[in-house]
């Protein structure tokens, strides 16, 4: 029974997921369905539970109720098909190690217990670093990298996992414009190759240009679906409450569909 597929046509299926700290709900009765091949933004105000959502899906924090299926199976059976990029601030960048070594850590899951990374793993990690234009920094100690470079190393570590579903927690927070564009382009390429990308995002301004799927979160799911349908003033107001007045003054659309995404027509590498 455990092996029977449940909602196999969905990249991510979350049902009734509830998480709480100290009797205070952080996530309440989350139902979420993501088709494969989308690049989805998870957006919401501070304390909306965006990071907790990813952590609960990956079973990094306990949930009180609900279940999660990734490509039809529980996460435990799908570890190899899932890539995860935690927030950059979640690790100590003073740790004595190199960029190449951090990327190689992405392959530890495939290696399993006890097997050591060898030349093949180092070569794969090097290729991933080339993909994010960081090959020249492979042997740098990680504290000597800028915030944007550190984020690229983290992205390379996810790329090397060759996953089908990627979870990224604030990959564009505190990075320079070049890195942000680079990250968006790489994620776009992954999406075009049929992968599913789920990004916790902080910047409402760029949601429409970067993403094609949107999950509005505030403890519960406020709205979900294609960006063109979900990104409306009414939905944002429901997710953000009072803070939305500020947003509407900033060129927010009325409740009408958005024009086609210019980012999707872009090809080629920005590096």
């Amino acid at each position: 029974m455990a092996d029977a597929l449940h909602e196999p046509q969905l990249a991510l299926h979350v049902e009734d997921l509830t998480v709480s700290y100290q009797n205070k709900p952080v996530l309440w009765d989350i139902d979420l369905d993501l088709p494969p091949g989308v690049m989805a933004a998870v957006v919401g105000p501070n304390g909306a539970g965006k990071t907790s959502l990813i952590k609960a899906i990956l079973e990094l924090i306990p949930s009180l109720a609900g279940h999660v299926r990734i490509l039809g199976k529980p996460y435990r059976q799908q570890r190899g098909r899932v890539g995860y990029v935690p927030q950059r601030s979640a690790v100590d960048w003073e740790f004595p190690t190199t960029a190449l070594d951090v990327v190689t850590m992405g392959l530890y899951g495939r290696l399993g217990w006890l097997r050591r990374p060898g030349r093949r793993e180092r070569e794969e990690a090097m290729q991933a670093l080339e993909q994010v234009a960081m090959a020249d920094f492979a042997h740098r100690q990680i504290s000597q990298l800028s915030g944007g470079q550190q984020q690229r190393v983290f992205l390379a570590r996810a790329l090397v996992q060759q996953a089908e579903v990627y979870f990224l927690d604030e990959p564009m927070a505190g990075v320079d414009a070049t890195t942000e564009r680079a990250i968006v382009n790489i994620l776009g390429e992954l999406r075009d190759a049929g992968k599913t990308i789920i990004v916790v995002h902080h910047d409402l301004q760029t949601v429409r240009t970067y993403f094609d799927w949107l999950v509005l979160l505030n403890v519960g799911v406020v709205a979900q679906g294609p960006v063109s349908e979900v990104y409306t003033a009414a939905n944002l107001r429901r997710a953000y409450g009072g803070q939305v007045a500020l947003l509407e003054g900033n060129g927010m659309p009325a409740d009408k569909p958005t024009p086609p995404d210019p980012q999707r027509d872009q090809t080629g590498d920005v590096f």
């Binding site: 700290y21 570890r79 935690p86 979640a90 850590m105 530890y108 899951g109 050591r116 100690q141």
Partner: protein, 313 residues
């Protein structure tokens, strides 16, 4: 016969000190890097309770049961600390400070009440008696060796094996516990394994260096190595080297000034740290000051040049 023994005693003392440092460095490096080094302080104090309770129950002062009893007390300290933190009514440092003094005080009280005439007293508890390890010998393969030396050799080997076998897993769990968990490596289990070995090391080191000096040997060599390298494996190697140097120089200076050998060894780890703190090529205070001064001079020269160039000729 007596002459050859006298010759061997200093070597045995130095080797024992170095082994405490090496065994401590192997586990301590990961504790220092994950910001949990004070757990070694908590563990090394708490095990007194385990040692005394096992001694009261079985009459044994050393041996496997003693080791197990003390190691269990060490883990219990960690477990209680984490349980307190999980209530979210208390921060980690306060929880550590709450649990281990209670265990330590209980242990010392029991010693006071039941063990007035036994050689484990408060002084030994704190500083150990590395100078007298040769009084308690066991014979292995025809060689008479101090029990402390044998115990420390065994535990150093066990720690080396643990770190060697789980090096990749320990590195990932220390650097990024969330990814370690997401990839299915059990960082919690690894962490308890590490702390179990820290407890066992503390028990083995207890006779030789006591609880206070043990903490120095677990924290200071890794902290020194951390300033000198940017590679984890090198940090382990340098930490072990610092331990060896501190033990040898500590013994020599202790003899010269006629002071506590264990105390002098710990002081020498502190001296090594201070030197690294001041002189380490990249992170040291002086090289950094010198680089900043050179860069400032360089910038001034550049400004002067541009001012010169702007001046009409």
């Amino acid at each position: 016969m007596l002459a050859s023994l006298m010759e061997r005693i200093p070597v045995m003392i130095m080797v024992t000190g170095a082994l405490v440092g090496m065994a401590g460095t192997l586990v301590g490096s990961f504790l220092v890097l994950s910001g949990r080094s004070m757990l070694s302080d908590a563990i090394s104090h708490s095990i007194i309770l385990g040692i005394v309770v096992v001694w009261l129950l079985t009459g044994q002062q050393t041996g496997p049961i003693q080791t197990i009893g003390a190691a269990v007390t060490g883990l219990l300290t960690v477990f209680l600390t984490q349980a307190l933190v999980r209530t979210r009514r208390m921060r980690n440092d306060a929880a550590i400070g709450l649990v281990f003094p209670v265990f330590f005080a209980l242990g010392v009280l029991l010693l006071n009440v039941y063990a007035r005439d036994v050689h484990i007293d408060e002084h030994t508890v704190l500083l150990g008696e590395i100078g007298f390890i040769w009084l308690d010998n066991i014979t292995i393969a025809g060689y008479e060796l101090p029990r402390s030396l044998v115990a420390m050799s065994a535990i150093t080997l066990v720690n080396l094996l643990f770190v060697g076998v789980f090096y990749k897993e320990l590195k990932l769990a220390t650097f990024d516990p969330m990814l370690a968990r997401a990839l299915g490596f059990a960082p919690g289990v690894l962490s308890y394994g590490l702390l179990l070995l820290t407890s066992v090391t503390a028990v083995a080191a207890f006779d030789a260096v006591g609880v206070i000096l043990f903490v120095a040997f677990v924290i200071v060599p890794p902290a020194t190595a951390y300033l000198l390298t940017e590679r984890l494996w090198l940090m382990l190697v340098i930490g072990c080297l610092v331990s060896v140097i501190a033990s040898v120089t500590g013994y020599i200076l202790a003899n010269y000034w006629d002071v506590s050998i264990g105390g002098m060894m710990a002081v020498m780890t502190g001296v090594a740290f201070t030197l690294a703190f001041l002189l380490a090529p990249r992170h040291g205070l002086l090289p950094r000051w010198w680089r900043a001064r050179r860069d400032a001079a360089h910038n001034r020269a550049a400004i002067d040049d541009s001012a010169e160039a702007k001046r009409p000729s």
